[in-house]
Amino acid sequence: MQSIIERIEREIAAWAPESGAEETGIVRAAGDGIAEIDGLSNAVLSEMVLFDPTFDRSLAEALKDPRPLYGLVLNLEEDGVRAVILGDASKIYEGMLVRRTGRRLSIPVGETLVGRVVDPLGAPVDGKGPTGATELRHIEREAYGVIDRASVNVPLHTGIKAIDAMIPIGRGQRELIIGDRGTGKTSIAIDTIINQKSEPAATRPICIYVAIGQKESKTAKLVAELESRGAMEYTIIVTAPASAPAALQFLAPFAGATIGEYFMEQGRDALVVYDDLSKQAVAYRQMSLLLRRPPGREAYPGDIFYLHSRLLERAAKLSKEKGGGSLTALPIIETQEGDVSAYIPTNVISITDGQIYLEANLFNKGQRPAINVGISVSRVGSSAQTKAMKKVSGKIKLELAQFRELEAFMQFSSDLDAETKKRIDAGRRMTSILNQGRGAPLPFEVEAAVIFAATNGYLDSFSPEEVGAVEARLRDFLAREAGGVLVAIRESREIREESEKTLRAKLDAFVARHSGTSDVQVSGGHSMS
């Protein structure tokens, strides 16, 4: 009690009336999260304004709810401004006093955010008390220029074989994850975050997951999963749920980018997942229409492309002079009926450095992740791929594309020559090898060893139906009996001659032990013959 009294006395003693006048305006009209404000003729774009509920109330009434409500100026007009309300819009009333703050929208950033769940304004929503982050950073800022950047050359392993082998992602890259609802887009992002646990602490990226317009139950489940896997130790969640005002859903990705940039500028690596930008675009469309900006294609405003390009351009690999940090972006876009030629998907495809396209058909066939290899691409990631992965995965993409063609052709013909059948079996085997369930990311050296085995014919003696189970056994075998080789691959990031020899010997031993035996139980109850 005494300490509280002392603190209050200190505050009273330190108080001095603010000198000078402040600029104020009056709410002319408010509705749908937008306030029309008379006055504030010197307000600037993206400035925060403060709706003051205490101005025309008695002190006793004002103390009941003295919390100010903020707004963000988005339209400058002839006789006033229009601002989006960042909070409970029902508290805004006509004639309410609005003060300028002179501050552009900023959020607190810092190390203490790690492990926390915050809203787009940086306020904690996980019930663990204040975040303790004190450094304020503008939420909107210009991306780094050409001189400050370095080329993407360090891999960011997702732990998903199909991606690390065929669509590699580099640190500082922007790789779009696109597909219909329920095709596993979020799973890829979450597995990628979980997989960073296998990275050494010094090079492990700080992960920021931005949930936009999602059900709170989904976010809660996700946080629980990350916590149970020990991934919250290096993860920050920014959430603007479906129940949040459109303004917060629009701001959430920018908040994520701002937090990521903080770590990037410390010379560290950061990974930010925007889940998903389709919902952000919808929120921005809603705001723009309410702000009476002219609608364009699909009623989106004219600057919707700029909205996403300025956000994604903030992902970067910085030069050594700038500390060498990186910010990798994994934006997610949800398509409707697989239509990648819609407005927002084409925009974001053209902005990013590649896309991972997930197909509902493949998902329904049981392929996990349901990646359509034909139209998935990574434009800069191959230069960041490790030598080991490059060596083992060279031709997979081409072979799989040929397999898909043959597979389609096979539907029309039952008589296949031996060569074609061999290719189809090889394709099936490879598809099976690349199949990987949710929440099971693999360390990169294991991925490399498994793909090495598949591409060098070590699994040819097994039927395509058996390969899935064989692969699981192979991983156990490698962990048990080839630990040294795996460590060598992990440390050198390549498969050197000596490692290759040992690996081949171990694989020969594995094949000899398992081929022709019936100890490999395959799904469906078959056993190896």
Partner: protein, 124 residues
């Protein structure tokens, strides 16, 4: 179109000669009738009401917590560039005064100070 007519009437209100001002309004109404735009009149009136309210808000306004503070408050407000002849009493200010003109606000009330302290203490 409505904005144009509203601006016209706003300018007419500035004319000091009342007869001339009335004549201008009559002429405008006649013009609207002849052009078949009488239905615009309620909208024009609504816009004018908004303009009047905005102008009202732009007037200098000084509030004091008690009548005995009026003289000092008017002097202090004047030194801040807000000149008013009288001050109105607003007991919710607790002590001190506040003055507004246009988009400018000077708040030297105890209410503001107490709220600021309350917010600082509860935020810490």
């Amino acid at each position: 179109m409505i904005d144009d007519y509203t601006r016209l009437l706003e300018a007419t209100a500035e004319i000091e000669d009342k007869a001339a001002s009335d004549a201008a309004v009559t002429k405008l109404i006649m013009h609207l009738k002849s052009a078949g735009r009488v239905k615009m009149l309620p909208q024009i009136a609504r816009e004018l009401r908004k303009v009047a309210a905005r102008r009202h808000a732009l007037r200098p306004l000084v509030e004091v917590a008690s009548r005995k503070e009026e003289e000092a408050a008017l002097r202090a407000a004047s030194s801040e560039g807000i000149v008013a002849r009288h001050a109105s009493v607003n007991s919710s200010l607790v002590r001190g005064w506040r003055a507004r003109q246009g988009g400018r606000l000077v708040d030297r009330s105890a209410k503001r100070a107490l709220l600021a302290i309350y917010q600082q203490v509860t935020r810490a």
